[in-house]
């Protein structure tokens, strides 16, 4: 497999994902026919909706890959936009925050992705955590409304950190110059996304099959120790088996996958805590069966910067 060129590896990867989705679609179809007998069935219908949404997501990622660096950056720009919109829609803001909100959507978001596009590492890693962190509350303060001031400013800062800064570290992988791995940045993105998402799916499957003891019942009753351990162990194995698309060896890929899965799990937990606090089950309705963009990407957001910096520190 390592002998393939990047293009052939990408095609092999998408073919593999396609086969998994075909199997999942057939299983879903069989369950609907044999178990649900064609009648409405909550869990099976949700499974089928999720599989259908996966087809769409894989197709969109495939199209972006074909368009190359600009395509992938545009895709994640849109992803960040949708995520930020979901986050801020559920945050308390007042009319005095209007300029700060406008700036978040129409200045911070495009500037961050433009910096990633030109590969200005020194600025895109501090633009939001330093400059936006300081200037956003200035905009809010200048507007003069002090009611729940710090809560409003913090929620906007949080929304930008999670939805824009963290998620932009997925396409930022393209800017890493790894010796001996030139021209394969897209595969590193595919690796991260595949490991995080297979971890989410495998945790869900293990949890449904064997889940007994909840990890944090107050935050998320559906996250169980059985799902956590089984899901992370099997997703780590998936990550290790995919070492041939990465600059890592098999055991390095396993450790990287473990780090990704753990960050992904805790990302899901943190974002669930926020949802619970705000009294909602999902962030939105954008992706049928999954909820909103943030429901699908909470784990990616937490895993991406850590994966980015581990790779950058040890491999460049």
């Amino acid at each position: 497999m390592s002998a393939l060129n990047p293009r052939e590896q990408t095609i092999a990867l998408f073919a593999g994902v396609g086969i998994i989705l075909i199997v999942a679609s057939l299983v879903g179809f069989a369950l609907k026919r044999l178990v649900a007998k064609g009648a409405p069935h909550g869990a099976i219908d949700n499974l089928n909706a999720r599989v259908k949404a996966w087809w769409v997501m894989v197709a969109v990622i495939g199209l972006a890959f074909m368009a190359g660096r600009a395509g992938v950056i545009l895709l994640f720009l849109f992803v960040s936009f949708a995520a930020l919109r979901e986050f801020l829609s559920l945050s308390y803001t007042r009319s005095g925050d209007h300029y700060a909100l406008i700036a978040s959507f129409f200045v911070v978001l495009p500037v961050q992705y433009a910096l990633v596009y030109v590969g200005w590492y020194g600025l895109y890693t501090i633009f939001i955590p330093v400059y936006v962190f300081l200037f956003l509350p200035i905009l809010v303060a200048v507007a003069g409304d002090t009611t729940r001031f710090q809560e409003r400013a913090s929620k906007m800062q949080w929304g930008l950190m999670v939805s824009v800064f963290c998620i932009s570290h997925v396409p930022a992988l393209l800017t890493l110059e790894i010796p001996g791995y030139e021209g394969r940045g897209l595969l590193l993105i595919a690796y991260l996304v595949l490991v995080v998402q297979s971890s989410d799916v495998l945790q869900y499957v293990w949890g449904k099959l064997a889940g007994r003891r909840p990890v944090a019942p107050q935050v998320s009753p559906s996250k169980t120790w059985e799902g956590l351990v089984g899901g992370i162990a099997s997703a780590t194995a998936v990550g290790s088996a995919l070492y041939w698309i990465t600059p890592f060896s098999a055991w390095q890929a396993a450790l990287m996958a473990l780090a990704i899965c753990l960050m992904g799990f805790f990302g899901g937990l943190v974002m669930s805590a926020i949802k619970r606090d705000r009294g909602v089950k999902d962030w939105g309705t954008l992706i049928e069966g999954h909820g909103g963009m943030l429901d699908r990407l909470d784990s990616v957001a937490f895993a991406a910067p850590v994966f980015f910096h581990l790779t950058r520190y040890f491999w460049t």
Partner: protein, 211 residues
Amino acid sequence: MNSEAFDRALGRLLCAFARALTGARARWLGCAPAATQRVYFANHGSHGDFVLVWASLPADLRERTRAVAGADYWNKGALRRYVANRVLRAVLIDRDRSTRTEDPIEKMARVVDDGDSLIVFPEGTRNTTDAPLLPFKSGLYHLAVRCPDVELVPVWLDNARRVMPKGAVIPVPLLCTVTFGAPLRVAPGEDKDAFLERARAAVVALRGPEA
């Protein structure tokens, strides 16, 4: 393309833009989107409100539904006048009692007599306070008495005011939901204040959880 077709295409474009920006998700809780003649009455926080309610209706209902808006705002300037009259086909009423020459209730009732549905904002002005809903003006009651066969559907617009607060020019893309409740009518013997209070409570009852 003749000018009417152009105006309609522009209307569809404006609705598509409103939906892309805000998601404009319609939740039909108390009734289904049906071709029944109705007066939709909603909370009012921004100039974008009636575009949003209008955009959340299915295209065939939108054709037969007209929003009632203040002439003082929408008749100011050629662009606003064109958008309100031709693109959105709004029913513009003069809110100033001292200068108006036409009874606004009569103007709205004639639209209903022609077979169209209406979108109204019974608070009479945009709500910029922290209260969820201002007291209703009496117009909704008089309209309901004048047109007894029309269903009155309460509507709660969530987040619209944050998209475009009073005085704002650029809208912020935040997700909005438009929730439609169960239709009401004036009960036999019900007086004006009791009806308005019941209608107002029906709108407030559609509110989602606080952010």
